[in-house]
């Protein structure tokens, strides 16, 4: 059976697999250590968070309207983008107005901007997007793609980063992480200063106050959202939370699940453009991105919209660890990606991803919002197979007839195992026949 996913894995360098495995194992054990320190009952916290997100999904429209109203009170302009094209139009439109001759747009790490391929659209419009998250910066100079939703360069080792920095003339060749970071810092500092616009994602937006919440560890979000004259935040509509008090749960669940931190190094609460302060942006825009989410909300994969993008399901997944994010061929990789990609882009296009799972169930066990990922993968498989003739038809028939079943058991030793089996493994030989033994008992 031809399989793009498996073919990609065949082409993978074993060093890449080793480094992905080491990094995911490290954060995954940090998660397992931290969460029980932060929560008396981790499973209870996960279910509580799932309940809050379910409430959000059940009341999405009124919550978004409330968010919009409170943002307006704060002086934040809210835009509604029904799809990627409209979000790109809104964002490039603002950039065009602020910098009519084009200019630098600094970007904080955001999966939503990856989803709409914002960089490409900004570039076409004559602007120069600059990724300021260290990982995303490396992705950008390498013309690569992120392979993890939290750690975009988890597939790279420091040698390859060192070579990229040398090629870009960022400083003398070094493999020391601290020195490489300082080189990026020096390079990016001037970008923050010259940029007219900063673009960020949104981790949470609070309906009751209209505040935008961002978490990060590097400080580049702080600079991207405060130094340029204009800040544009792009958020998937499912990221709204009802109350500020919900953050006590969500900030800790997110940090703990994603990186094993009790809290991220920075947590930003953005309440609007500057007022009397000396610094801060003059304009703040919030772009609400639908891009298929309303449709997903109405269907069987709505639970996937609870996702807070922590990456825990990627880190624990045996398939992700072996295959890396690029095997999935979508901005959202891993178990949640195998649900989100077909849910958002359609089963005909991405449905095959649902088969890239052993259904081991670890993803659900660690999901901070208790998304039933394995159940949805199964459902997606059934949708993907709906219009195909299945190789299981014969099995279904045999398993319903004593005669056929017994004949099948007799014939089995003569049947060739499938290619995907025998390429890698031997097939066992039957030694004991249970039915015969059972019949022959006194």
């Amino acid at each position: 059976m031809k399989n793009r996913f498996d073919d990609y894995v065949r082409s993978l360098d074993e060093d890449v697999v080793r480094s992905v495995r080491a990094s995911t194992e490290r954060v995954f054990s940090a998660r397992a250590k931290t969460l029980p320190e932060v929560f008396d009952d981790v499973d209870h916290a996960r279910r509580q968070a799932a309940d809050v997100k379910s409430y959000v999904l059940d009341n999405l429209k009124p919550l978004l309207l409330k968010l919009e109203a409170n943002c307006a009170k704060n002086g934040v302009t809210v835009h509604w983008a029904k799809d990627a094209a409209s979000a790109n139009r809104i964002i490039t439109g603002i950039c065009d107005r602020v910098a009519p001759n084009g200019g630098t747009v600094v970007k904080a790490k955001s999966m939503a901007t990856e989803e709409i391929h914002l960089n490409r659209h900004l570039t076409i419009a004559g602007h120069t997007p600059v990724e300021t998250d260290l990982g995303e910066f490396v992705v950008q100079i390498d013309r690569d793609k992120p392979s993890h939703i939290v750690a975009p360069i988890i597939h790279k080792d420091r040698k390859s980063i060192a070579r990229s920095f040398e090629r870009e003339k960022l400083g003398p060749y070094t493999e020391e992480p601290e020195e490489l970071t300082m080189q990026a810092r020096a390079h990016l500092r001037s970008k923050f200063q010259e940029a007219d616009v900063g673009v960020s994602g949104v981790n949470f937006a609070i309906a009751e106050t209209g505040r935008i919440v961002l978490v990060e560890n590097e400080g580049n979000n702080r600079l991207s959202t405060t130094v340029p004259r204009v800040h544009i935040a792009l958020m998937g509509i499912e990221k709204v939370l009802p109350r500020e008090s919900d953050l006590a749960l969500f900030l800790r669940l997110l940090a703990g699940s994603a990186t094993g931190q009790r809290l991220t190094v920075y947590t930003h609460f953005i309440g609007g453009p500057k007022k009397e302060e000396a610094d801060g942006p003059e304009e703040v825009h919030l772009v609400l991105l639908d891009n298929g989410r309303s449709r997903v909300l109405k269907g069987p994969f709505r639970y996937a919209l609870r996702c807070i993008r922590c990456g825990a399901c990627l880190n624990g997944c045996p398939v992700y660890r072996r295959s890396t994010g690029h095997a999935y061929g979508h901005v959202y990789p891993g178990p949640i990606g195998a649900v989100l990609a077909p849910a958002l882009d359609g089963v005909p296009k991405m449905g095959e991803l649902a088969k890239a799972s052993t259904l081991c169930g670890l993803c659900r066990e660690v999901c901070p919002v208790d998304i039933p990922i394995p159940d949805m993968l199964l459902k997606l498989r059934s949708e993907d197979e709906r219009n195909r003739t299945s190789e299981w038809t014969w099995f279904g028939l045999a398993a319903r007839s004593n005669l056929l079943w017994k004949a099948g058991l007799k014939l089995l030793p003569m049947v060739e195992p499938p290619r995907g089996w025998k390429e890698f493994r031997e097939f066992p030989r039957k030694r004991v026949d249970f039915r015969r033994w059972w019949r022959g008992r006194p």
Binding site: A356, L359, D375, W392, N402, L409, R425, P428, K430
Partner: protein, 231 residues
């Protein structure tokens, strides 16, 4: 107690010795076994492969064959998970009393120990992932640990899957192989005499891989060890 034995299609087709051991184990625990000969498969293979029409038809037959009140016991967490969880996803009403063998011994029969003795050896227990779906925790280990002569050791990352995944092992053979080899290397490094698995699906995959790579690793089902301890 009257129980009905669900063999699992894998033990029906290949691993009859696991069925024999399961029957002996249950009988030694004072269970009166009824084996419905019309049983075939729970429907999980086509269910996982996405052919829900075939899966539903097979599952409905399983429901007919196992219609009744006495507990159904199967030497596989995977089949038990299919009946208790998968049937509901197919829109079928699941019989409540379907148990994995060790789960049944500990939770239903209330045995905290198995006892008996075997020839001294070090074994690794391989946890089948589908135990997660039925809340199977430590029952297998608990029973094994009470057997004299058996040293049960923790190997590598026990919470990680072996890479079998049913049809996944065929459609994504390369990924499946990679995950399985990691597991086998951990087992090899631990220097155990045997690997005890609660599910023959994992064991078939790992054993087949080990053989291909000329690794000398022996696999048995937990029922076989429990039965051995009776002798």
């Amino acid at each position: 107690m009257k129980v009905r034995l669900m063999l699992s299609c894998l033990c029906d087709a290949v691993y009859g010795e696991v069925g024999v051991a399961t029957a002996r184990v249950l009988e030694s625990a004072d269970c009166e076994i009824y084996f419905p000969v019309a049983q075939t498969c729970c429907g999980q293979p086509p269910f996982n492969a996405g052919d829900w029409n075939a899966a539903r038809a097979v599952a409905m037959r399983t429901l007919e064959v196992f219609d009744g009140d006495s507990p159904v016991v199967v030497p596989s967490a995977s089949c038990a998970a299919m009946v208790r969880h998968g049937f509901a996803l197919l829109g079928l009403t699941a019989p409540r009393q379907c148990y994995e063998l060790c789960e049944f011994i500990v939770n239903v029969l209330g045995r905290k120990e198995w006892g008996g003795s075997v020839d001294p050896r070090r074994v690794a227990l391989h946890r089948a992932c589908h135990g997660r779906m039925i809340g199977l925790r430590d029952q297998q280990r608990q029973l094994l640990k009470s057997i004299k002569g058996l040293e049960v050791v923790e190997v590598g990352t026990p919470e990680q899957c072996c890479g079998f995944g049913g049809s996944f092992s065929v459609t994504h053979g390369k990924v499946s192989e990679g995950i399985g080899l990691e597991k086998l290397r951990q087992i090899e490094a631990a220097g155990v005499d045997q690997v005890v698995s609660g599910d023959m699906g994992c064991a078939m995959h790992l054993q087949g891989l080990a053989k291909r790579h000329s690794m000398d690793i022996k696999f048995v089902h937990v029922a076989q060890v429990l039965a051995e301890a009776l002798d």
